[in-house]
Protein backbone atom coordinates (compact mmCIF):
# COMPACT_ATOMS: atom_id res chain seq x y z
CA UNK A 1 0.00 0.00 0.00
CA UNK A 2 1.01 3.58 -0.61
CA UNK A 3 3.06 4.91 2.29
CA UNK A 4 2.65 8.60 2.96
CA UNK A 5 5.58 10.76 4.01
CA UNK A 6 5.71 12.78 7.23
CA UNK A 7 5.11 16.44 6.38
CA UNK A 8 6.45 19.40 8.34
CA UNK A 9 6.11 23.17 8.21
CA UNK A 10 9.47 24.92 7.83
CA UNK A 11 8.09 28.41 8.25
CA UNK A 12 4.87 30.42 8.13
CA UNK A 13 3.96 34.10 8.11
CA UNK A 14 0.96 36.42 8.21
CA UNK A 15 0.55 39.87 6.67
CA UNK A 16 -0.90 42.68 8.77
CA UNK A 17 -4.68 42.29 8.63
CA UNK A 18 -7.15 45.13 8.30
CA UNK A 19 -8.42 47.79 5.94
CA UNK A 20 -5.31 47.76 3.81
CA UNK A 21 -6.42 50.40 1.31
CA UNK A 22 -2.83 50.90 0.16
CA UNK A 23 -2.31 47.22 -0.70
CA UNK A 24 -3.69 44.94 -3.41
CA UNK A 25 -3.75 41.14 -3.64
CA UNK A 26 -0.15 41.04 -4.89
CA UNK A 27 1.17 43.31 -2.12
CA UNK A 28 -0.54 41.24 0.56
CA UNK A 29 0.80 37.96 -0.83
CA UNK A 30 4.25 39.47 -1.13
CA UNK A 31 4.22 40.59 2.50
CA UNK A 32 3.36 37.11 3.82
CA UNK A 33 5.14 35.05 1.14
CA UNK A 34 8.51 36.77 1.27
CA UNK A 35 8.54 36.65 5.08
CA UNK A 36 7.79 32.92 5.03
CA UNK A 37 10.57 32.27 2.49
CA UNK A 38 13.06 34.46 4.37
CA UNK A 39 12.26 32.78 7.70
CA UNK A 40 12.75 29.39 6.05
CA UNK A 41 16.04 30.46 4.52
CA UNK A 42 14.69 29.16 1.23
CA UNK A 43 15.13 30.76 -2.14
CA UNK A 44 12.05 31.12 -4.31
CA UNK A 45 13.69 28.92 -6.92
CA UNK A 46 13.58 25.93 -4.53
CA UNK A 47 9.78 26.05 -4.38
CA UNK A 48 8.38 23.31 -6.64
CA UNK A 49 4.65 23.75 -6.29
CA UNK A 50 2.20 26.30 -4.90
CA UNK A 51 -1.43 26.31 -3.81
CA UNK A 52 -3.27 29.54 -2.96
CA UNK A 53 -6.59 29.80 -1.14
CA UNK A 54 -8.82 32.61 -2.37
CA UNK A 55 -12.59 32.82 -2.11
CA UNK A 56 -13.63 35.43 -4.59
CA UNK A 57 -10.97 37.59 -6.19
CA UNK A 58 -13.31 37.84 -9.16
CA UNK A 59 -16.16 39.43 -7.27
CA UNK A 60 -14.13 41.46 -4.77
CA UNK A 61 -11.57 42.99 -7.15
CA UNK A 62 -12.39 41.58 -10.60
CA UNK A 63 -9.36 39.29 -10.56
CA UNK A 64 -9.44 35.54 -11.23
CA UNK A 65 -6.57 33.25 -12.23
CA UNK A 66 -4.98 33.84 -8.81
CA UNK A 67 -2.63 30.82 -8.97
CA UNK A 68 -0.64 32.11 -11.93
CA UNK A 69 -0.94 35.71 -10.75
CA UNK A 70 0.75 34.95 -7.44
CA UNK A 71 3.47 32.78 -9.02
CA UNK A 72 4.16 35.60 -11.48
CA UNK A 73 4.37 38.32 -8.82
CA UNK A 74 6.61 36.25 -6.54
CA UNK A 75 8.87 35.44 -9.50
CA UNK A 76 8.16 31.72 -9.23
CA UNK A 77 7.20 30.98 -12.86
CA UNK A 78 7.12 28.37 -14.33
CA UNK A 79 6.18 26.21 -11.30
CA UNK A 80 2.64 24.81 -11.19
CA UNK A 81 0.51 27.12 -9.05
CA UNK A 82 -3.19 26.81 -8.47
CA UNK A 83 -5.93 28.62 -6.63
CA UNK A 84 -8.47 26.64 -4.61
CA UNK A 85 -11.84 27.79 -3.35
CA UNK A 86 -14.00 26.54 -0.51
CA UNK A 87 -15.51 29.84 0.66
CA UNK A 88 -14.09 30.81 4.08
CA UNK A 89 -12.30 27.45 4.24
CA UNK A 90 -10.30 28.19 1.06
CA UNK A 91 -7.13 28.63 3.16
CA UNK A 92 -7.62 25.39 5.05
CA UNK A 93 -8.30 23.53 1.83
CA UNK A 94 -5.18 25.09 0.24
CA UNK A 95 -3.16 23.85 3.21
CA UNK A 96 -4.63 20.35 2.88
CA UNK A 97 -3.75 20.32 -0.83
CA UNK A 98 -0.16 21.40 -0.09
CA UNK A 99 0.02 18.73 2.61
CA UNK A 100 -1.15 16.07 0.13
CA UNK A 101 1.38 17.21 -2.47
CA UNK A 102 4.26 16.63 -0.02
CA UNK A 103 2.82 13.56 1.72
CA UNK A 104 2.29 11.84 -1.62
CA UNK A 105 5.94 12.25 -2.55
CA UNK A 106 5.17 14.26 -5.65
CA UNK A 107 6.88 17.46 -4.47
CA UNK A 108 9.41 18.29 -1.75
CA UNK A 109 9.21 22.04 -1.20
CA UNK A 110 5.65 23.37 -1.42
CA UNK A 111 4.38 26.89 -0.73
CA UNK A 112 0.83 27.33 0.56
CA UNK A 113 -0.77 30.74 0.53
CA UNK A 114 -4.09 32.38 1.24
CA UNK A 115 -5.21 35.86 0.28
CA UNK A 116 -8.32 38.01 0.17
CA UNK A 117 -8.74 41.67 -0.72
CA UNK A 118 -12.21 42.55 0.56
CA UNK A 119 -12.36 46.26 1.34
CA UNK A 120 -12.41 47.59 -2.23
CA UNK A 121 -16.17 46.98 -2.26
CA UNK A 122 -18.71 48.47 0.13
CA UNK A 123 -20.30 46.44 2.92
CA UNK A 124 -23.49 45.73 0.92
CA UNK A 125 -21.47 44.28 -1.93
CA UNK A 126 -19.18 42.32 0.38
CA UNK A 127 -22.29 40.84 2.04
CA UNK A 128 -23.59 39.80 -1.38
CA UNK A 129 -20.27 38.21 -2.37
CA UNK A 130 -20.10 36.27 0.90
CA UNK A 131 -23.67 35.08 0.29
CA UNK A 132 -22.18 32.95 -2.47
CA UNK A 133 -20.84 30.61 0.23
CA UNK A 134 -24.35 29.54 1.19
CA UNK A 135 -26.94 27.78 -0.95
CA UNK A 136 -27.89 30.77 -3.05
CA UNK A 137 -31.12 29.33 -4.43
CA UNK A 138 -32.66 28.28 -1.12
CA UNK A 139 -31.08 30.64 1.40
CA UNK A 140 -29.79 33.97 0.04
CA UNK A 141 -32.64 34.16 -2.48
CA UNK A 142 -35.18 34.09 0.36
CA UNK A 143 -33.45 36.80 2.37
CA UNK A 144 -30.82 34.96 4.42
CA UNK A 145 -27.51 36.68 5.07
CA UNK A 146 -24.40 35.10 6.57
CA UNK A 147 -24.90 36.62 10.00
CA UNK A 148 -28.54 35.52 9.57
CA UNK A 149 -27.63 31.85 9.15
CA UNK A 150 -25.40 31.86 12.23
CA UNK A 151 -28.13 33.81 14.04
CA UNK A 152 -30.54 30.94 13.29
CA UNK A 153 -28.03 28.55 14.88
CA UNK A 154 -27.60 30.90 17.85
CA UNK A 155 -31.35 31.35 18.50
CA UNK A 156 -31.89 27.60 18.57
CA UNK A 157 -28.72 26.96 20.62
CA UNK A 158 -29.55 29.54 23.30
CA UNK A 159 -33.09 28.10 23.45
CA UNK A 160 -32.24 24.38 23.53
CA UNK A 161 -29.40 24.59 26.07
CA UNK A 162 -30.74 27.48 28.09
CA UNK A 163 -27.53 29.47 27.54
CA UNK A 164 -27.39 33.13 28.52
CA UNK A 165 -26.73 35.75 25.82
CA UNK A 166 -23.79 36.99 27.93
CA UNK A 167 -21.79 33.88 27.00
CA UNK A 168 -21.63 35.03 23.36
CA UNK A 169 -20.37 38.43 24.56
CA UNK A 170 -17.63 36.72 26.58
CA UNK A 171 -16.32 35.07 23.39
CA UNK A 172 -15.94 38.48 21.72
CA UNK A 173 -14.39 40.11 24.81
CA UNK A 174 -11.78 37.33 25.06
CA UNK A 175 -10.91 37.49 21.35
CA UNK A 176 -10.55 41.29 21.43
CA UNK A 177 -8.29 40.91 24.48
CA UNK A 178 -6.00 38.52 22.59
CA UNK A 179 -6.16 40.75 19.51
CA UNK A 180 -4.97 43.71 21.58
CA UNK A 181 -1.71 41.82 22.17
CA UNK A 182 -1.22 40.86 18.51
CA UNK A 183 0.44 43.55 16.34
CA UNK A 184 -0.87 41.88 13.15
CA UNK A 185 -4.52 41.92 14.29
CA UNK A 186 -7.19 43.90 12.44
CA UNK A 187 -8.63 45.20 15.74
CA UNK A 188 -6.38 45.92 18.71
CA UNK A 189 -8.97 47.50 20.98
CA UNK A 190 -10.35 45.75 24.03
CA UNK A 191 -14.09 45.71 24.54
CA UNK A 192 -16.33 45.16 27.55
CA UNK A 193 -19.21 42.73 27.91
CA UNK A 194 -21.53 45.73 28.23
CA UNK A 195 -20.34 47.12 24.87
CA UNK A 196 -20.81 43.75 23.19
CA UNK A 197 -24.35 43.42 24.59
CA UNK A 198 -25.49 46.87 23.48
CA UNK A 199 -23.78 47.20 20.08
CA UNK A 200 -26.00 47.64 16.99
CA UNK A 201 -28.01 44.57 16.00
CA UNK A 202 -26.86 42.82 12.80
CA UNK A 203 -29.09 39.72 12.82
CA UNK A 204 -30.90 38.99 16.08
CA UNK A 205 -29.49 37.76 18.45
CA UNK A 206 -26.10 38.62 16.91
CA UNK A 207 -24.80 42.15 17.33
CA UNK A 208 -21.79 43.92 15.84
CA UNK A 209 -19.25 42.35 18.17
CA UNK A 210 -20.58 38.87 17.48
CA UNK A 211 -19.47 39.20 13.85
CA UNK A 212 -15.98 38.95 12.37
CA UNK A 213 -14.92 41.93 10.24
CA UNK A 214 -14.36 42.31 6.51
CA UNK A 215 -10.57 42.32 6.25
CA UNK A 216 -7.75 42.41 3.74
CA UNK A 217 -5.01 39.92 4.50
CA UNK A 218 -2.73 37.10 3.47
CA UNK A 219 -0.73 34.28 5.00
CA UNK A 220 1.79 31.73 3.77
CA UNK A 221 3.48 28.51 4.89
CA UNK A 222 6.37 26.48 3.47
CA UNK A 223 5.99 22.68 3.66
CA UNK A 224 8.50 19.88 3.14
CA UNK A 225 9.02 16.24 4.12
CA UNK A 226 10.07 16.13 7.81
CA UNK A 227 13.58 14.92 6.98
CA UNK A 228 14.17 17.77 4.54
CA UNK A 229 12.55 20.33 6.86
CA UNK A 230 15.15 19.47 9.51
CA UNK A 231 17.85 20.84 7.23
CA UNK A 232 16.20 24.27 7.28
CA UNK A 233 14.99 24.53 10.88
CA UNK A 234 15.75 23.19 14.36
CA UNK A 235 12.06 23.27 15.20
CA UNK A 236 10.08 21.72 12.35
CA UNK A 237 6.33 21.71 12.99
CA UNK A 238 4.96 18.28 12.15
CA UNK A 239 1.56 18.05 10.44
CA UNK A 240 0.11 15.13 12.39
CA UNK A 241 -3.20 15.25 10.52
CA UNK A 242 -5.01 17.55 8.10
CA UNK A 243 -8.56 16.44 7.41
CA UNK A 244 -11.27 18.20 5.39
CA UNK A 245 -14.93 17.14 5.50
CA UNK A 246 -18.14 18.35 3.89
CA UNK A 247 -21.83 18.63 4.75
CA UNK A 248 -24.95 19.97 3.05
CA UNK A 249 -24.43 23.46 1.64
CA UNK A 250 -27.66 24.75 3.16
CA UNK A 251 -28.58 24.93 6.82
CA UNK A 252 -32.10 23.77 6.04
CA UNK A 253 -30.93 20.29 5.08
CA UNK A 254 -28.86 19.72 8.23
CA UNK A 255 -29.63 16.99 10.73
CA UNK A 256 -29.20 19.47 13.60
CA UNK A 257 -28.43 23.18 13.19
CA UNK A 258 -26.65 23.36 16.57
CA UNK A 259 -24.06 20.82 15.45
CA UNK A 260 -21.69 21.31 12.51
CA UNK A 261 -21.30 17.72 11.31
CA UNK A 262 -18.42 18.60 8.98
CA UNK A 263 -16.49 19.73 12.07
CA UNK A 264 -17.50 16.60 14.00
CA UNK A 265 -16.33 14.34 11.19
CA UNK A 266 -13.10 16.19 10.38
CA UNK A 267 -12.11 16.37 14.07
CA UNK A 268 -12.92 12.73 14.78
CA UNK A 269 -10.71 11.59 11.91
CA UNK A 270 -7.92 14.06 12.72
CA UNK A 271 -7.72 12.78 16.32
CA UNK A 272 -7.83 9.20 15.09
CA UNK A 273 -5.06 9.70 12.50
CA UNK A 274 -2.80 11.58 14.90
CA UNK A 275 -3.46 9.26 17.83
CA UNK A 276 -3.95 12.37 19.98
CA UNK A 277 -6.46 12.87 22.81
CA UNK A 278 -8.38 16.10 23.37
CA UNK A 279 -6.31 16.78 26.49
CA UNK A 280 -3.09 16.77 24.39
CA UNK A 281 -4.09 20.01 22.63
CA UNK A 282 -2.26 22.97 24.19
CA UNK A 283 -3.58 25.73 21.91
CA UNK A 284 -6.38 25.99 19.32
CA UNK A 285 -7.33 28.27 16.49
CA UNK A 286 -11.04 27.85 15.80
CA UNK A 287 -13.24 29.43 13.15
CA UNK A 288 -15.11 32.14 15.08
CA UNK A 289 -16.66 33.92 12.09
CA UNK A 290 -19.44 34.58 14.63
CA UNK A 291 -19.24 34.14 18.41
CA UNK A 292 -21.74 31.26 18.32
CA UNK A 293 -19.42 29.42 15.89
CA UNK A 294 -16.60 29.31 18.46
CA UNK A 295 -18.87 27.66 21.05
CA UNK A 296 -20.20 25.11 18.54
CA UNK A 297 -16.66 24.30 17.33
CA UNK A 298 -15.35 23.53 20.82
CA UNK A 299 -18.32 21.25 21.48
CA UNK A 300 -18.35 19.61 18.04
CA UNK A 301 -14.65 18.73 18.31
CA UNK A 302 -15.35 16.97 21.60
CA UNK A 303 -13.67 19.32 24.09
CA UNK A 304 -16.86 19.41 26.16
CA UNK A 305 -20.45 18.19 25.99
CA UNK A 306 -23.04 19.83 23.74
CA UNK A 307 -24.39 22.98 25.35
CA UNK A 308 -21.61 23.20 27.94
CA UNK A 309 -18.95 25.35 26.23
CA UNK A 310 -20.31 28.36 28.09
CA UNK A 311 -18.83 27.07 31.36
CA UNK A 312 -15.30 27.39 29.94
CA UNK A 313 -16.09 31.05 29.21
CA UNK A 314 -17.62 31.70 32.64
CA UNK A 315 -14.35 30.43 34.12
CA UNK A 316 -12.06 32.22 31.66
CA UNK A 317 -10.47 28.91 30.59
CA UNK A 318 -10.13 29.92 26.92
CA UNK A 319 -7.68 32.78 27.59
CA UNK A 320 -4.00 32.19 26.74
CA UNK A 321 -3.28 31.35 30.39
CA UNK A 322 -6.34 29.10 30.80
CA UNK A 323 -6.71 25.34 30.54
CA UNK A 324 -7.99 25.45 26.93
CA UNK A 325 -6.55 28.50 25.11
CA UNK A 326 -8.65 29.39 22.05
CA UNK A 327 -7.80 31.96 19.37
CA UNK A 328 -4.73 33.45 21.00
CA UNK A 329 -4.21 35.79 18.02
CA UNK A 330 -7.66 37.32 18.47
CA UNK A 331 -9.44 34.84 16.22
CA UNK A 332 -11.43 35.87 13.18
CA UNK A 333 -13.28 38.36 15.39
CA UNK A 334 -10.30 40.58 16.30
CA UNK A 335 -7.32 39.35 14.26
CA UNK A 336 -9.51 39.61 11.14
CA UNK A 337 -11.19 37.40 8.57
CA UNK A 338 -9.73 37.83 5.08
CA UNK A 339 -11.79 34.83 4.00
CA UNK A 340 -9.39 33.01 1.63
CA UNK A 341 -6.40 33.65 3.91
CA UNK A 342 -7.95 32.69 7.24
CA UNK A 343 -7.17 28.96 7.19
CA UNK A 344 -3.48 29.61 6.49
CA UNK A 345 -3.40 32.49 8.99
CA UNK A 346 -4.53 30.02 11.67
CA UNK A 347 -1.65 27.67 10.77
CA UNK A 348 0.78 30.59 10.90
CA UNK A 349 -0.44 31.52 14.42
CA UNK A 350 -0.02 27.93 15.63
CA UNK A 351 3.54 27.77 14.26
CA UNK A 352 4.30 30.94 16.21
CA UNK A 353 2.74 29.50 19.39
CA UNK A 354 4.45 26.11 19.09
CA UNK A 355 7.82 27.83 18.67
CA UNK A 356 7.19 30.07 21.69
CA UNK A 357 7.39 33.19 19.50
CA UNK A 358 4.01 34.79 20.26
CA UNK A 359 3.88 38.16 22.02
CA UNK A 360 3.94 38.38 25.79
CA UNK A 361 0.53 37.87 27.38
CA UNK A 362 -0.81 35.72 24.58
CA UNK A 363 1.93 33.06 24.36
CA UNK A 364 0.69 29.75 25.77
CA UNK A 365 3.55 28.59 27.96
CA UNK A 366 5.20 25.38 26.79
CA UNK A 367 2.72 24.77 23.92
CA UNK A 368 3.73 21.66 21.97
CA UNK A 369 0.55 20.52 20.22
CA UNK A 370 -1.91 22.78 18.41
CA UNK A 371 -5.15 22.41 16.48
CA UNK A 372 -6.59 24.55 13.69
CA UNK A 373 -10.27 24.47 12.69
CA UNK A 374 -11.36 26.29 9.53
CA UNK A 375 -14.95 26.40 8.24
CA UNK A 376 -16.51 27.33 4.91
CA UNK A 377 -20.01 28.77 4.72
CA UNK A 378 -22.37 27.78 7.50
CA UNK A 379 -20.45 24.51 7.90
CA UNK A 380 -20.53 22.84 4.48
CA UNK A 381 -16.73 22.52 4.60
CA UNK A 382 -14.55 22.07 7.66
CA UNK A 383 -10.82 21.40 7.91
CA UNK A 384 -9.18 20.23 11.13
CA UNK A 385 -5.39 20.20 11.36
CA UNK A 386 -3.23 18.96 14.24
CA UNK A 387 0.36 20.21 14.50
CA UNK A 388 3.18 19.48 16.93
CA UNK A 389 6.67 20.83 17.54
CA UNK A 390 9.57 18.49 16.81
CA UNK A 391 12.93 19.49 18.21
Amino acid sequence: MFKKRDVAIISAATAKCGERWESGIKDLVWEAGVKALDDAGISGKDVEYMVVGNMSGGMFVGQEHIGALVADFLGLNPIPSLRVEAACASGGIAFSQGYMAVASGLYDIVAVGGVEKMTDVDTDQATSVLSGAMDFEWEAYFGATFPGLYALMATRYLHDFNVRREILAKVAVKNHYHGSLNPLAHFRNRITEEEALTAPMVAYPLRKYDCSPISDGAAAAILAPLEIAKKYTDTPILVEACVPATDTLSLLKRRDICTVDATVNAARKAFQLSGRERRDIDVMEVHDCFTIAELLAIEDMGFCKKGEAGKLYEEGQTYADGSLPVNTDGGLKAAGHPVGATGVKQISELVKQLRGQAEKGRQVSGAEVGLAHNVGGSGATAVVTILSRRS
Binding site: Y141, F142, P147, T155, R156, P200, M201, L252, I257
Partner: protein, 143 residues
Protein backbone atom coordinates in the same frame (compact mmCIF):
# COMPACT_ATOMS: atom_id res chain seq x y z
CA UNK B 1 -26.98 39.01 -11.26
CA UNK B 2 -27.47 39.74 -14.93
CA UNK B 3 -30.71 40.61 -16.65
CA UNK B 4 -30.44 38.58 -19.80
CA UNK B 5 -33.14 38.41 -22.46
CA UNK B 6 -33.62 34.67 -21.97
CA UNK B 7 -35.88 33.55 -19.14
CA UNK B 8 -33.92 32.51 -16.05
CA UNK B 9 -33.87 28.81 -15.24
CA UNK B 10 -35.43 29.41 -11.83
CA UNK B 11 -38.75 30.10 -13.50
CA UNK B 12 -38.96 26.34 -13.90
CA UNK B 13 -38.38 25.65 -10.19
CA UNK B 14 -41.83 24.56 -9.09
CA UNK B 15 -40.84 24.38 -5.43
CA UNK B 16 -40.15 28.06 -5.33
CA UNK B 17 -43.78 28.85 -6.01
CA UNK B 18 -45.81 25.89 -4.83
CA UNK B 19 -43.69 24.52 -1.98
CA UNK B 20 -43.22 21.11 -3.49
CA UNK B 21 -40.47 18.63 -2.74
CA UNK B 22 -39.69 14.94 -2.94
CA UNK B 23 -40.70 11.82 -1.10
CA UNK B 24 -38.88 8.52 -1.16
CA UNK B 25 -41.46 5.76 -1.45
CA UNK B 26 -38.94 3.20 -0.22
CA UNK B 27 -38.16 4.75 3.19
CA UNK B 28 -40.91 7.38 3.47
CA UNK B 29 -38.52 10.33 4.02
CA UNK B 30 -39.50 13.71 2.61
CA UNK B 31 -37.10 16.25 1.18
CA UNK B 32 -36.98 19.95 0.42
CA UNK B 33 -35.82 21.12 -2.06
CA UNK B 34 -36.53 18.34 -4.56
CA UNK B 35 -33.86 15.70 -4.79
CA UNK B 36 -32.93 13.28 -7.55
CA UNK B 37 -31.58 10.70 -5.15
CA UNK B 38 -32.68 9.59 -1.67
CA UNK B 39 -29.43 9.90 0.34
CA UNK B 40 -30.79 7.22 2.66
CA UNK B 41 -31.70 4.55 0.08
CA UNK B 42 -29.35 5.54 -2.76
CA UNK B 43 -30.12 3.33 -5.80
CA UNK B 44 -32.83 1.44 -3.93
CA UNK B 45 -34.86 4.60 -3.38
CA UNK B 46 -37.89 5.60 -5.42
CA UNK B 47 -38.16 9.37 -5.41
CA UNK B 48 -41.49 11.00 -6.36
CA UNK B 49 -42.62 14.63 -6.23
CA UNK B 50 -45.01 15.77 -3.47
CA UNK B 51 -46.72 19.03 -2.62
CA UNK B 52 -46.41 20.18 1.01
CA UNK B 53 -49.36 21.56 2.96
CA UNK B 54 -47.40 24.77 3.56
CA UNK B 55 -48.03 24.56 7.28
CA UNK B 56 -45.31 24.22 9.86
CA UNK B 57 -43.67 25.55 13.02
CA UNK B 58 -40.84 28.03 13.51
CA UNK B 59 -37.75 25.92 14.25
CA UNK B 60 -35.45 28.91 14.65
CA UNK B 61 -35.54 32.58 13.69
CA UNK B 62 -33.59 35.78 13.31
CA UNK B 63 -34.32 39.39 12.47
CA UNK B 64 -32.08 40.74 9.72
CA UNK B 65 -31.00 44.36 10.25
CA UNK B 66 -28.17 44.45 7.72
CA UNK B 67 -28.94 43.02 4.27
CA UNK B 68 -27.58 43.07 0.72
CA UNK B 69 -28.95 45.83 -1.52
CA UNK B 70 -31.63 43.70 -3.16
CA UNK B 71 -33.22 43.03 0.24
CA UNK B 72 -32.38 46.26 2.09
CA UNK B 73 -35.81 47.82 1.47
CA UNK B 74 -37.31 45.17 3.75
CA UNK B 75 -35.05 45.59 6.83
CA UNK B 76 -35.58 44.81 9.62
CA UNK B 77 -37.21 41.59 8.43
CA UNK B 78 -37.72 38.24 10.10
CA UNK B 79 -36.22 35.07 8.63
CA UNK B 80 -37.15 31.67 9.99
CA UNK B 81 -36.21 28.09 9.52
CA UNK B 82 -39.64 26.49 9.40
CA UNK B 83 -40.15 22.79 10.00
CA UNK B 84 -43.01 21.76 7.73
CA UNK B 85 -45.68 19.41 9.12
CA UNK B 86 -44.39 16.80 6.65
CA UNK B 87 -40.86 16.98 8.13
CA UNK B 88 -38.40 18.96 5.99
CA UNK B 89 -37.16 22.39 6.97
CA UNK B 90 -37.39 25.40 4.68
CA UNK B 91 -36.02 28.90 5.03
CA UNK B 92 -37.85 32.11 4.22
CA UNK B 93 -39.13 35.35 5.65
CA UNK B 94 -42.00 35.58 8.10
CA UNK B 95 -44.27 38.47 7.19
CA UNK B 96 -47.50 40.07 8.40
CA UNK B 97 -46.32 40.02 11.99
CA UNK B 98 -44.12 41.99 14.38
CA UNK B 99 -40.62 40.56 13.69
CA UNK B 100 -39.73 40.97 17.36
CA UNK B 101 -42.61 38.73 18.43
CA UNK B 102 -41.42 35.54 16.75
CA UNK B 103 -41.02 32.46 18.91
CA UNK B 104 -39.70 28.95 18.42
CA UNK B 105 -42.70 26.67 17.96
CA UNK B 106 -44.95 29.38 16.49
CA UNK B 107 -47.37 27.97 13.87
CA UNK B 108 -47.04 29.45 10.39
CA UNK B 109 -48.35 28.89 6.88
CA UNK B 110 -46.82 29.60 3.50
CA UNK B 111 -48.00 32.53 1.40
CA UNK B 112 -46.96 33.67 -2.08
CA UNK B 113 -45.02 36.93 -2.18
CA UNK B 114 -42.64 39.17 -4.08
CA UNK B 115 -39.06 38.48 -2.94
CA UNK B 116 -37.07 41.24 -4.62
CA UNK B 117 -36.41 43.05 -7.89
CA UNK B 118 -33.33 42.23 -9.92
CA UNK B 119 -31.25 45.30 -10.78
CA UNK B 120 -32.52 47.94 -13.19
CA UNK B 121 -34.05 45.40 -15.58
CA UNK B 122 -36.98 45.23 -13.23
CA UNK B 123 -37.37 41.46 -13.27
CA UNK B 124 -39.34 40.58 -10.16
CA UNK B 125 -38.59 37.41 -8.23
CA UNK B 126 -41.50 35.74 -6.50
CA UNK B 127 -41.61 32.90 -4.03
CA UNK B 128 -43.07 31.71 -0.75
CA UNK B 129 -42.84 33.47 2.57
CA UNK B 130 -44.57 32.51 5.82
CA UNK B 131 -47.16 34.24 7.97
CA UNK B 132 -48.62 33.34 11.37
CA UNK B 133 -51.23 30.59 11.13
CA UNK B 134 -53.66 32.45 13.38
CA UNK B 135 -55.39 35.31 11.63
CA UNK B 136 -53.48 38.05 13.46
CA UNK B 137 -51.90 38.95 10.09
CA UNK B 138 -55.24 40.26 8.83
CA UNK B 139 -54.76 43.48 10.78
CA UNK B 140 -51.92 44.37 8.42
CA UNK B 141 -54.42 44.79 5.62
CA UNK B 142 -57.01 47.52 5.22
CA UNK B 143 -60.60 46.46 5.60
Amino acid sequence: MSTSAAPAHWRRMRERYRLTGSKCETCGRTYFPSTRVCPNCRRKGKVVPIEFSGRGKVYSYTVIHSAPKMMSQFTPYAVALVQLDEGPKVLSQVVDCDPDKLEIGMEVEACFRKLFEQDEGGIISYGFKFRPLDDSWRKYYRK
